[in-house]
Amino acid sequence: MSSTSQKHKDFVAEPMGEKPVNALAGIGEVLGKRLEDKGFDKAYVVLGQFLVLKKDEELFRDWLKDTCSANIKQQGDCFGCLKEWCDAFL
């Protein structure tokens, strides 16, 4: 909303297709690797998790923290990115 990164803008501009998980805002190389190790190798798998958690911010943040130890900012960026994508395309 207030200050979204270029990554965020790029992600929400189009359907995610087969984009890798580190295309998500807030998910860099390290977090992306951790997510892939847990089986979340594509952005749409994380999207699936986001939807299963009913798009709830708190639940998704907690899950992200548990799964790949994302910090507050990273959690927020990822959540915002997915939320906006869903608002546009879901």
Partner: protein, 186 residues
């Protein structure tokens, strides 16, 4: 505490609802998250509300203890009045109306002096009396036997205070130099 791991998805979902934890479906990818949340909630001792009736009963129970000791410690007059009015008090909502009317019943038992004071005591200082009155009504089914001493203010203190207020009010009214100090208020 049984292991959360062994619970079915439905049981997990029910537990999450009990602890008022917002959640989605319990699937493989979300299970560990919900297990952690439940563990935290249990450790924190958050309010799990399996039956909402418990609080109601607890209030009633507290109430009866304060209500019952007057039968034990005081004379027949007080205990008689309490015992008679007790069956009328089935609900806590009736406390103000019924308790006022119940207190008016034992009036004839008292002497002439205190007779005039009773109605004023209950009419005038409702705020000071209502906490006491609120505590007295209770379910009539409890037997008037030894209640546990789990009250904040001992009962004898309550009675001393009660008598002191009665005496004070009598003095106030008697010092008013009007024709009919008491009769006008029924």
């Amino acid at each position: 505490m049984s292991s959360l791991r062994s619970k079915t998805a439905k049981e997990m979902s029910d537990l999450l609802d009990e602890y008022e934890i917002k959640h989605g479906p319990v699937v493989d990818s979300t299970r560990s998250l919900y297990e952690r949340k439940l563990k935290e909630a249990m450790a924190k001792g958050k309010k799990a509300k399996p039956s909402p009736d418990q609080t109601y009963y607890r209030e009633e129970e507290e109430v009866t203890y304060e209500y019952r000791t007057p039968d034990r410690s005081d004379g027949a007059g007080d205990s008689g009045s309490y015992m008679r009015s007790r069956p009328a008090w089935s609900e806590r909502e009736l406390e103000h109306e019924t308790s006022y009317s119940n207190y008016s019943r034992p009036k004839p038992e008292y002497g002439g002096k205190e007779f005039s004071d009773e109605p004023h005591m209950y009419d005038l200082p409702p705020t000071s009396k209502s906490p006491y009155l609120k505590s007295t009504p209770g379910p009539p089914k409890e037997a008037p036997k030894a209640p546990p001493s789990s009250r904040l203010v001992p009962l004898w203190v309550q009675f001393v205070f009660f008598v002191a207020v009665a005496v004070f009010l009598y003095l106030v009214f008697s010092s008013m130099e009007t024709n009919e100090p008491i009769k006008g208020i029924e």
